[in-house]
Symmetry: C2
Subunit: 408 residues, 2 copies
Amino acid sequence: MTDSLARELACIDCGTVHPLGYRLECEKCRGLLELRYDLDVLRARGPALLAGGGLWRYAPVLPIADPAHRVTLGEGGTPLLDCPRLAKVLGVRSLAVKFEGANPTGTVKDRSSATGVAAALQFGFTATSVVSSGNAGSSIAAYSARAGLRSLIFAYARASAPKLLHMAATTADLVLYEGVYDDLITHWDRLVESRLFFDCGASRNAYKHEGKKTIGYEIAEQSGWRPPDVVVAPVAVGETFIAAARGFREMRDAGWIPRVPRMVAAQATRANAISRAFRSGRPLEPLKIGYTVAEGLAAGNPGRKGEWVLRLLRDGRGAAGDAEDEQILEAQRTLARTEGIWAGPTGVATLAVLGKMLAAEELDPAQSYCAIVSETGLKTEAAPPSRAATAFDFDSLERLVEQRLARA
Amino acid sequence: MTDSLARELACIDCGTVHPLGYRLECEKCRGLLELRYDLDVLRARGPALLAGGGLWRYAPVLPIADPAHRVTLGEGGTPLLDCPRLAKVLGVRSLAVKFEGANPTGTVKDRSSATGVAAALQFGFTATSVVSSGNAGSSIAAYSARAGLRSLIFAYARASAPKLLHMAATTADLVLYEGVYDDLITHWDRLVESRLFFDCGASRNAYKHEGKKTIGYEIAEQSGWRPPDVVVAPVAVGETFIAAARGFREMRDAGWIPRVPRMVAAQATRANAISRAFRSGRPLEPLKIGYTVAEGLAAGNPGRKGEWVLRLLRDGRGAAGDAEDEQILEAQRTLARTEGIWAGPTGVATLAVLGKMLAAEELDPAQSYCAIVSETGLKTEAAPPSRAATAFDFDSLERLVEQRLARA
């Protein structure tokens, strides 16, 4: 087991440094906090520091000190799949998909759930809670069960049936809320102060957030520590985007990679507050939103993390775009048929945005791309195909096979 | 990239040895074939032969010679999860779950699909086909798409909605059949002779079958080459069971592990031809079966592989059991609540059978167990929980949280 190199929490706004501990924002200015590590050790030891597989391979750059708290369901270590057929369809030199559907509950959320629930153990909490459109809820419920903690899961009533079934199975306390994520999160965030439960939300908790950083580490390591030119990450509140960007910056500062990839933020057009602000050069304005097929991207008010994403985009020569629901569903079909990867609408929004921005010549087709596909397709709810079925004898079977394959 | 050490095909009935090549049964007696490897090299080099991650880490003991044919979606490398809470519930000393839901299409089928579709490429086929209750169909469709091959998928009309959606997304040619697996497979197996498509079925193809052997190798390697005393494997036709047993035998013969685990075959009571034959000591008799929630176990006539399973059980001091649908659904809930692992009914049949056999004192609670959980829960179709939802203000939210968590 490897030691954590976490050393302190720093405010991203005023720079004040705080000791490690249960703390959700800066005591001085209420700004968001980020974890800082011992860069000297990272620089001196290099990737030889890493041991084992999955998410906890990156334990030196995660903030969980005691190996006994490092809860796992086998998250991380997801495939980085080179996709030459899809690259051709999109007209780009090289494209890899980081397929997060291979995580235990089928989404990237498992990375932050692992460190979130581990932090709940570390700080002595006995219950967790989260407000979710569906994926975070089932993930936090699963990791809480695994750790022997209670969980109180607030989920969007319009979440897909597979997501609801999953949550109902893994928590004893599932509560469905009316309206969208934004309608509940402000009250819930305020209630976090009561310390009745550990904050497993995406708004503030730096310990939970940190697990997602491993996606950046994995992309780099799976690319032989030479990450692709551009990484496209989904943005709802911004957790995956910010964490991946932080991971790349940390690796560059430690000399593990030569440069950070350019980051592209991908949103659903129906929840595009960040993309809209970045593209127009104007301040972030919360949106009143409705349903989008990319359920996991349905946040109209990304709050302070949204501001952080904008800052990272503006400071880092990033880019942002959004895609309509129809374009997202088309990307889902194309990915399945060209590469055999079955991802959900939330997951393929990055590919829809990438395709759209390439078509509009906003991105350079000569660069190498990695798209984070955050969700398996198995959580998709849609009308199943007709169940009209046929009985076969040998002759009718042979005729059908010959006809179908002759069409090739 | 590592070389394949596959050397020949041997008939499991008459022992005749055949050269490697496209061959589905023994030319002499029509018996099933198994692959044989260069044991001297395995013995001399040991596990140091292995390189890389996932299924193709075990390429030396897989029959695909050319690395260019080794199609991948990131299968294998699934977690072996120690489950102390569930062990306590079942009253057993030690229990690990090999969670195959982490594979790209959410099931163990991806292991055999990888080598099956790779073999289709190796032998120059341009199309694949399979008869499936749902999981094999979506897996073969996905791997065929990934390899740029056509696929013709025959699926059970009563397969769950997530399975049907998945298959419809990944193949252009989905055909639903009336009746169960057994009603179609005899005709389809005969049609394989036409060579219109590559045989991706479970009846005969030793190349496809072989991918599943990696589950045994992973269990052994993840246990530090000291596998658990007992491995419980699901049995429909018997592919996973036979392949795991062959893997353990191969490792023992090569000196990689000290002894082979005892194998337990787990079936659904509604499709229990093998368990029934083994427990009664009588010959295998095909059953006419209907629906079971363990959709992937719905084979009433396991054919020659069923005989092979029986032989392995009888020669290897194995055991067999079956569980009713209600017991299987109960095991699904228990696994989710105690360990946070969300698996489908097909996947948890092993745990239901293990629990039942321990309760009946047919197995020794002092031994260490590994249960293969073959399927994610995300493919489960069941009535979703009520979507009745609540709107909250801060006060009503606070009241609800206090009430719920006070119940602890």
